[in-house]
């Protein structure tokens, strides 16, 4: 949102390139393509340099991008299954966490006592890397899938709760007064005023929570699980000899793409759910 503000602020000063007037989406796609092209070029340059030095171990550690692509193509079923194992758990945990966070947030704003009892802990949890809980949860719950659900839900619900409380309390006082003058019930005020006003806050929380829940699931893979993308990453370091570094790079690429898709999907949902927001209505290119 604010990046868009920054972008538009600076674009007013520069002359428009009128001959290629791209729409927002195609401009974003073009930008993505340029980024990928630059990354691949840098990667090729580094790989060629590694081979030029004649350093065998460096050559082994840094495969060509096309090697990785080939590896992804040949062993796609492995990567697809690992992505599913990590990604689906992260999404389910994320959804559970969102639900719990919404409920808790709504409960919290009903009473000053409940709110002031819980808020300091919720805030403190923002400053604590909850990810450190993974090894402990792993010992308590045993099943890696259950740990993934828990940790993803846990990370999400804290962030969502804060966002909900902030959003629900942030309705314009004038609007609240108007609802009062219309004799609106508590529920009606919630339904028609407070909740819609909170939606942008909730989504900005969700955009923060999405990559964190994926990190949580990855960390479960890293330590103790024997499935998922994180496991592929670590296992390729310890188990394999030659082909392993290609697996490592492939798994890395898949993980990064998964993270991007997940967060983009949340952003897409936001556009669909809260389409009335000025940032979207004006046809902004966020």
């Amino acid at each position: 949102m604010s990046e868009a503000a920054v972008a538009s602020a600076s674009s007013t000063r520069r002359p428009r390139l009128s001959f290629i007037d791209l729409s927002g989406t195609s401009r974003a796609l073009l930008r993505g393509a340029v980024v990928v092209a630059v990354l691949v070029a840098v990667w090729y340059a580094a790989a060629i340099y590694a081979r030029a030095t004649g350093n065998a171990s460096l050559t082994l550690k840094l495969p060509y991008p096309h090697d990785v692509l080939l590896d992804l193509f040949n062993k796609w079923s492995i990567y697809a299954r690992a992505s599913w194992e990590t990604g689906s758990r992260a999404v389910i945990g994320f959804v559970i966490g969102t639900g719990v966070g919404l409920l808790l947030g709504i409960v919290m704003i009903q009473s000053r006592w409940i709110e002031s009892a819980i808020v300091p802990y919720v805030l403190a949890s923002q400053m604590i890397p909850l990810i450190a809980l993974v090894p402990i949860l792993r010992a308590i719950l045993r099943d890696p899938d259950v740990v993934r659900f828990y940790i993803c839900a846990y990370v999400t619900f804290f962030i969502v709760t804060i966002a909900v409380v902030r959003g629900l309390k942030n309705s314009a006082p004038v609007a609240v007064e108007m609802m009062g003058s219309l004799n609106a019930s508590r529920w009606q005020t919630m339904r028609f005023l407070r909740f819609p006003a909170a939606v942008p806050y909730i989504f900005s929380g969700l955009r923060v929570a999405a990559p964190l829940s994926l990190i949580g699931a990855l960390l479960v893979d890293f330590i103790g699980a024997n499935s998922g993308l994180g496991y592929l990453l670590v296992a390729s370091l310890t188990l394999g000899a030659n082909a392993a570094s290609t697996t490592l790079w492939s798994a890395l690429v898949v993980t990064l793409v998964l993270g991007l898709v997940f967060t983009r999907f949340v952003a897409y949902l936001e556009r669909r759910v809260s389409f009335w927001q000025p940032a979207y209505r004006a046809g902004a290119t966020a």
């Binding site: 602020a9 809980l133 402990i136 010992a139 994926l214 490592l248 993980t255």
Partner: protein, 264 residues
């Protein structure tokens, strides 16, 4: 005055969280959670056991703090410095490039950057450097995005005033843009604290033989739950204290904003 002071202490803001904390810890010590969720003391120790662990493992733990903390701090400062430099370079010298690059940089926030840790470790090993690099990777984009936002949010009146007194771009940057950006920069610095700790802990828990992340993973697999929980509490304290320190520095550096925020 003391009466008002006492009244404030008795307000829900102070009493309610303390009450909840005491209740939860008391119930935990009394074994309520253990019987309700069928938890075992060797995975979830009682608070008294965690306290007792300070005496047994305190020194051991401090040694690992001395490994994790510098990694987090160096990575954090690297990320902050690098982010600030990149943001400055973009805003001052390449504003056109910036509009294209900024969305890309902010998109990296949505990537699970910690997945880079094994790849970085492949090249530099599993000592201090891998943690510093991972933390810097995680924190730099946050700093860039917020600093750019801050440097760009100068009011046009201020710009016009500076132009009318024939100030150079360098002067505008120093006397107008940087002070304007300060609150934004501190927002970034605050959210980077937890990212730095996450980066260090994940890297340590994944591979390596030292640091708090390793202690938690290792202690849990050796059923030394009290030590693992103590390490968890230590990390929590580190996170909160670092956050408070950043907040304190913010009060000193940008008193005008901190005051207005407290009032609002």
């Amino acid at each position: 005055m003391s009466w008002a002071h006492a009244r404030r202490l008795a307000s829900p803001q102070v009493v309610a969280p303390l009450l909840l904390g005491v209740l939860v810890i008391g119930a935990w010590q009394a074994g309520v959670f253990h019987s309700a969720f069928n938890l075992k003391p060797y995975t979830v120790p009682y608070p008294s056991a965690i306290l007792a662990a300070i005496e047994d493992d305190g020194d051991h733990l401090l040694k690992h703090v001395a490994i994790s903390l510098p990694a987090a701090v160096i990575g954090y400062l690297t990320g902050a410095g690098l982010g600030f430099l990149v943001a400055t370079a973009l805003v001052r010298f390449a504003p056109r490039l910036m509009t294209q690059v900024l969305p890309v940089i902010s998109a990296t926030n949505s990537l699970p950057i910690v997945a880079l840790a094994p790849v970085v470790g492949l090249f530099v090993g599993y000592g201090l450097p891998v943690k510093v690099i991972v933390v810097a990777f995680m924190t730099t984009p946050v700093m860039v995005v917020y600093t750019v936002r801050g440097l760009m949010s100068v009011e046009s009146e201020a710009r016009e005033l500076m132009a009318s007194i024939e100030s150079t771009p360098g002067q505008v940057y120093r006397f107008v843009q940087v002070p304007t950006a300060m609150p934004f920069i501190f927002t970034a610095l605050k959210s980077m604290v937890v990212l730095a700790l996450i980066g260090v802990i994940v890297t340590e828990a994944m591979r390596g033989f030292e640091g708090l992340g390793f202690v938690i993973a290792d202690a849990m697999s050796g059923f030394d739950a009290a030590l693992a929980w103590l390490a968890l509490v230590t990390i929590a304290v580190m996170g909160i204290v670092s956050y408070l320190i950043v907040g304190l520095v913010e009060r000193l550096v940008v008193p005008w904003d901190a005051a207005s925020r407290a009032a609002g």
